[in-house]
């Protein structure tokens, strides 16, 4: 299931859906990118990165190659802006407006689901009995954006020494499926309405994209933030 829906807040203020990603079945790869809402058009970077990564060789199980692909895809995207004009103010503006987005990636390997993330979001876990749980990726700190690795120390307020991908692996002996979602699902995951939460989980289990889209449409005001699910 791959679902990418605009949040109610963005519908109201007329701005774009700043999330993007993909689910490529034959490469067993899932991606979610969540653009920073303070970035004017962070969806541009999120979409370019998704496109760049999807065109790379993703069939490998080698985690170092996967990491290298993520880095290379990001470099290609940032070059789109950084090679236009070698002016620090322009570069910083481009970074702020287009290139601040989180990256969550899942690679299904022979024995493991490998999850790499730079920035917050959720891991969706489905165990062998089919039950679904959510693992929040949020350490309470300022969001980590990979673009910080491409900027000079004195140009950034946070993570001056750069950021890195965090890594988790989940054994296929223990899990049927592992996916990722942007933090837009926090409103349903943390909802007091248990019946509604159960309905959401039931649709996740079904794998039906259209049913999930209709669920979000019916409960648009609950989903205040953009939602992307790759599961």
């Amino acid at each position: 299931m791959f679902v990418n829906k605009i949040g109610y807040h963005h519908i109201e203020d007329g701005s774009n859906n700043q999330d993007y990603g993909f689910l490529i079945q034959d490469k067993k790869s899932k991606l979610v990118c969540d653009g920073c809402s303070e970035g004017k058009n962070s969806e541009v970077g999120a979409k370019l990165f998704s496109y760049a990564l999807s065109s790379m060789e993703l069939s490998t199980d080698d985690i170092l190659i996967v990491l290298n692909n993520l880095e290379e895809a990001f470099k290609r995207v940032s070059d789109v802006f950084f090679t236009v004009k070698k002016d620090m103010n322009f570069i910083l503006k481009a970074a702020r407006d287009y290139l601040c987005f989180t990256i969550l990636f899942v690679k299904e390997c022979e024995n493991y689901f490998r999850v790499l993330n730079c920035g917050d979001g959720y891991i969706i876990l489905q165990d062998k009995s089919g039950e679904i749980s959510f693992l929040e990726l949020n350490d309470g700190e300022y969001p980590k954006y990979y673009i910080y690795n491409f900027l000079a120390e004195d140009a950034v307020k946070h993570y001056k020494s750069g950021v890195y991908f965090e890594y988790k692996s989940f054994r296929k002996d223990d899990y049927l499926n592992v996916g990722i979602a942007s933090d837009g699902i926090r409103f349903i995951v943390n909802s007091d309405d248990e019946a509604l939460k159960e309905e959401f989980i039931k649709i996740l289990k079904s794998g039906k994209e259209s049913a999930m889209k209709r669920f979000i449409n019916r409960n648009q005001k609950l989903f205040n933030d953009d939602v992307t699910i790759s599961f």
């Binding site: 259209s210 889209k213 209709r214 669920f215 979000i216 449409n217 019916r218």
Partner: protein
């Protein structure tokens, strides 16, 4: 007194879903509903074979379009009485045709509009994004309806206000004036010939496909493709 319960219930399905298409059978969040009201009055007898052929080609055109999965279509026949079917996938569209009797035009408009709005409301509550086209094909003015011209006009005014595309194909020119009186926003007048009949349904299929592609309702230029 009836000896049987006339209400058929299927477990887990709303009645709306037994008459039309169940929500779980739809693999999309966006749908375009097409209402086709077809004149089966006696004056259409000359064109029985051509109508069946035109309807077949109309169905084929929709089936072969990229938007096929996002279209549901209802067939409504009117002559002395009316028979309005549910909104089904294109593959289930009946293309058979025969003609005899009067022209209960106002009845099919009033009843058809009510059923369209009802199903639209149901789909929207389920989270579907819905557009609709309400199309009538006729070669003549009303005779035999229980409903009045003003009821038909109210129904069409209501559909227009809901941004549903209202389209009228007038075969042979007699019904041109009535379409304006009722308030259809789009009129396609065609001469009464076999060729023009086929062209009319060809135009209708292209217009329906364009309408289902566009994000917003194409209320005023439906036949301009």
């Amino acid at each position: 007194m009836s000896n049987y319960d006339e209400t058929v219930e299927i477990d887990g399905l709303d009645e709306m879903e037994t008459i039309n298409t169940a929500i779980d059978d739809l693999d999309t969040e966006s749908i375009t509903l097409i209402f086709t009201g077809l004149d089966r009055s006696g004056s259409m007898q000359t064109y029985t074979m051509e109508m069946a052929q035109a309807l077949n080609e109309f169905k084929d055109a929709l089936t072969n379009s990229k938007e096929a999965e996002e279209i549901l279509i209802a067939r409504a026949d009117f002559s002395n009485s009316i028979n309005i079917g549910g909104y089904k996938k294109i593959a289930d569209y009946d293309t058979s045709y025969s003609a005899a009797g009067g022209t209960a035009l106002y009845d099919v408009i009033v009843e058809g509009a009510a059923k369209l709005k009802e199903y639209m409301e149901f789909l929207k509550k389920e989270g579907m994004r819905v557009k609709a086209v309400f199309a009538i094909f006729t070669d003549g003015e009303d005779n035999g309806s229980y409903s009045s011209l003003s009821s038909a006009r109210d129904s069409i005014r209501d559909l227009n206000s809901l941004e549903i595309t209202t389209a009228f194909i007038s075969f042979g020119g007699v019904a041109d004036t009535i379409s304006k009186k009722i308030g259809f926003k789009n009129l396609l007048p065609v001469a009464s010939s076999a060729t023009e009949l086929r062209n009319a349904f060809n135009c209708l299929s292209k217009s329906v496909i364009e309408a289902s592609k566009s994000v917003v309702s194409t209320q005023d230029d439906f036949f301009s493709i």
